[in-house]
Symmetry: C2
Subunit: 240 residues, 2 copies
């Protein structure tokens, strides 16, 4: 793919939670497995939704400088500690809480992701560009056999998306100009921030990201460079 | 493998140039190919040795703060520009010089490396811990199908090995304690600096790293946690 200015695309960097992996089904499934083992029951879907709901506000406190730089694993732990009592699980011990935080390390991809990424990898450098920390993303990619060439997480920059330091920083680490790098995401806001830094943009909708709840991004809200139905369609459109 | 203090090993991070890839044969071969195409001849082995010889002094100038942070690709370019006239190639154009710098991006591994790393990857997180920049290392790992889970380069820290920031930084990015991470290297000095930061240490000799010239590290000079004949032996000793 070439953009209007004829810069050849060299690398694709992917938003991960929601775009590559199905965090909601994964969390609900792992909580239910734990509950069956521990003899506990609770509103697992409610916990998963509330936990994800705490994600943006917790990062925004870091982005606004109200708290010092904190990796996503630790933000997850802090919001979990707040949520568990609300769902009748305030007595859950530390070992279980650590296990819950690590659910995020083994979330599974949407069904078409791995075969499509294998095609894309033949043509492009593939990286994460996620608000996850490198350790989390490395374990997630390894557990799910995601064919990434490089793991780029927010802790490399001490900034969370959509701060511009993340998009600029990914290009700098890849030694590429922004026009040589495409962000692939299911979230229009992420793409808008990437475009503002000069990156190419690829949108893939994930309409069931929130399960029965309405998607915040059911469709593209701007003329992104590529608008694909899923990763297979993305690979087709990029000639991979 | 467990160390004396019973900390289980979780990740192996690898020195790359010399330990994983054979930079000397690679550079000589790529220079000779270029020479055949361009109708030029020169002492390719001499250039390769002199280029590698400029490596430590150029990094040391950065480490001492005499020059600002500079990625390895750019140090390579600066030392190349100094060397080419010495070898009768002062007239070589910019495009060829860029091609020469990128020889480092497609160096090939020693013969046993990939099969042994595939075994090790089933048991451990595998990363680079190299003075290369992330872009260089990502392209090198991709071109040679090296099964790394994560790419850690000196530009993530703004420090070159053996500065302690690199070893500590790798552990921090992996969210592991130093005793959970082993540096694998063919160079005793690198291992000594890693051990000083609490990392486990694995030595693999590469006696022909410098071709006909004597290796600087023909054997282990300390009781490293693992001393292996090659990566296959390392995988055996680590139970992978």
């Amino acid at each position: 793919m070439r953009r209007a200015d004829d810069t050849p695309l060299r690398a694709l960097v992917f938003d991960v939670f929601g775009t590559v992996v199905d965090w909601r089904s994964g969390l609900i499934g792992y909580f239910a497995e734990w509950g069956a083992r521990a003899g506990r029951s609770a509103d697992w879907a409610g916990i998963a939704d509330a936990w994800r709901g705490a994600y943006v506000p917790s990062m925004d406190r870091v982005r606004r400088g109200e708290v010092a730089w904190t990796i996503l694993d630790d933000l997850h732990r802090a919001s979990l500690d707040t949520l568990l009592p609300v769902f009748g699980l305030g007595d859950v011990d530390d070992a279980a809480r650590l296990e819950f935080v690590r659910f995020w390390h083994r979330l599974q991809p949407w069904p078409e992701v791995v075969p499509a990424m294998r095609r894309l990898r033949n043509k492009y450098v593939l990286g994460t560009l996620s608000n996850g920390n490198v350790g989390l993303l490395t374990r997630l990619a390894k557990a799910a056999s995601l064919p990434f060439d490089v793991i780029i997480g927010a802790d490399l920059f001490g900034h969370y998306k959509p701060d511009p330091e993340t998009y600029r920083g990914a290009c700098r680490l890849l030694n590429l100009g922004p026009g040589e790098v495409m962000l692939v995401a299911a979230h229009n806001g992420d793409l808008a921030a990437a475009r503002a830094e000069g990156l190419a943009t690829g949108f893939v909708p994930r309409r069931v990201e929130y399960g029965p709840h309405p998607s915040k991004d059911p469709a593209a809200t701007a003329a992104w460079d590529v608008i694909a139905a899923d990763f297979t369609d993305l690979a087709d459109r990029l000639g991979a």
